[in-house]
Subunit: 331 residues, 2 copies
């Protein structure tokens, strides 16, 4: 890995003027300014995840990104409660804005009017149509494999080509990014041959030194296999987040999740007590209880790395996987 990563040009790298077709998933509470800047500096697109955050978070993490151009990622239903955060982001002339979870239409016009590339993340074909109608410049096809929140129901493997075909059939040119399960070069290569123009990467960057993930969470997750995650609403309940029906969060299995997943009615009846228990666990950094939001791809991740190393490794690995796949042909 001493040589610089080979170029891997796609419609995405042209649109965003980046070197590699790799976008940091704007994970709330994980993708702060340091991680976003590191990914952008390495040739990808870093994005600050605003998540449930406020203006103070946006200002603080933006300052940490410094002069490096990054994007901002919003949760649409949270942004509805604090729409001024979008203006604060747009004033910084970001590299892109990502809108996820819910209708992008109320916000899309301001992003486009600002001349900022609009990335819309979707998990269903109908939502992809809505995003294209709203003027999305880039579609993120989010499969169920990914960590954190998603509207489950589709795997990355089938959603990507179906959305690629949808864009083509509607006469559009929006690049499609694969999201959910892309943690190494094989995954990036697979995304490209499925027709995507790049990948949105969460879990692999979660396991980076620049991420806002605590060391204790990293230690716990690196020993896990891909079967050790579950998509659940349990931790949203005890944290008091009212996600829309259909959205679940993929997290590492833990004694707390194993106890309450599938017993949501009983949990609802004991919510004040369990919410208090969760808050205490956060204070204690007790990962038998506190959520670790990672995707199925955690099973092939075994070390915390620098974000720049991850970008290099993804690109080198994709080039190698494509070369190997090609070599099998006509052999």
């Amino acid at each position: 890995m001493d040589e610089p990563a080979p170029a891997l040009h796609t419609a995405l790298t042209a649109l965003l003027d980046i070197s590699h077709p790799i976008v940091l998933a704007p994970m709330g509470g994980v993708a702060g300014g340091a991680l976003a800047a590191a990914v952008s500096a390495a040739g990808g697109l870093g994005q600050i995840g605003i998540g449930y955050g406020d203006r103070a978070l946006l200002d603080r993490e933006s300052a940490l990104a410094g002069d490096v151009r990054v994007g901002y990622g919003f949760i649409n239903w949270c942004l509805s409660e604090r729409p001024e955060l979008l203006d604060a982001a747009l004033e910084r002339r970001p590299a892109a804005v990502t809108l996820a979870f819910g209708d992008p239409e109320p916000f899309a016009g301001r992003v486009r009017a600002a001349g900022v590339p609009l990335i819309c993340q979707v998990s269903r074909v109908a939502d992809a149509r809505r995003a294209l109608d709203a003027g999305a410049d880039v579609l993120v096809a989010q499969g169920s494999e990914g960590g954190g929140h998603a509207e489950r129901g589709r795997g990355t493997f089938t959603l990507v080509p179906e959305l690629v075909d949808l864009v083509a059939d509607t006469g559009g040119h929006a690049p499609v990014l694969a999201a959910g399960g892309i943690v190494d070069g094989r995954g990036l290569a697979a995304a490209l041959v499925l027709g995507a123009d790049g990948a949105l990467v969460g879990t692999r960057f979660w396991a980076c030194r620049e991420a806002l993930a605590p060391a204790g969470a990293h230690r716990r997750a690196l020993g896990a296999g891909g079967d050790d995650t579950v998509a659940t609403r349990v931790l949203d309940s005890v944290r008091g987040y009212s996600w829309p029906d259909g959205a679940t969060s993929r997290v590492l299995r833990s004694p707390f999740v194993e106890r309450w997943h599938g017993h949501e009615e009983e949990l609802a009846g004991r919510l004040p007590e369990l919410a208090q228990r969760y808050r205490q666990a956060v204070a204690d950094e007790d990962y038998d209880v506190v959520q670790i939001a990672v995707g199925e791809g955690i099973g092939v991740i075994d070390e915390v790395r620098a974000a720049s190393e991850v970008v290099e490794s993804l690109v080198h690995g994709a080039a190698a996987a494509l070369a190997e796949g090609r070599a099998r042909n006509h052999r």
Copy 2:
């Protein structure tokens, strides 16, 4: 598509002495002798799906395959009830035997003693370890995207590389096949770059003229998108099949499924009535009720074809997708 399909040699094609790394999923009631023979004749590996069937079915479909070498696929928990079917299959010196759903160990020894390649289908890492311990020559990594039965929980995109690494880490050489969502050349190419040595294909072959799927089911499914399937236990209940906990069947959404999925307790209370209604619907070929077991990949399938055309198209398409992915590199 006038030229013959290019060779796409992998460890699988060498092991099974086939031309293309494409294996027909042994779908019970769908993959009969005609379809299995057509896939084998086209250079892949066809397999007759025994499913819930008996000796008469095995004899009838074997006769339809004629002299073409095919494999046989069994559901382990069904085979436990009629273990003599394995002997009947092995007497025919099949090209392979696939064991799925439950512990393969009780049957693996007889397959291996007969010198027949043993394919084990798994959806979890622990089951992959068990299959390797039982002597599996080939692992099928079955993601949740696929049609019909599966133990849901993993996407093809993450399960394939994790099992490829597992085989390597345990010093083995078993080829891994990707299953779930592979319906065109892009999917086959993605499977290969993820590290698989081929693909097990169900839904794409279901939509073939040689399949035992009724024309009415074909017509209904070809208009569907990938979001129009759901993994459910509803149709197993009314059909009287006692699948193990955890297994669900991915089927096309229908008025009947929409009514009862998520209302399984109410359904259980009205089972005799609803079972009778289902039987009547089968007699009437009423696809508002009768199951159509297809995977998420149905969204990119729009015509019924001959199996030989499907094999050619998969191989040509994979070669093109790999060439396109490669061309992006260093461009």
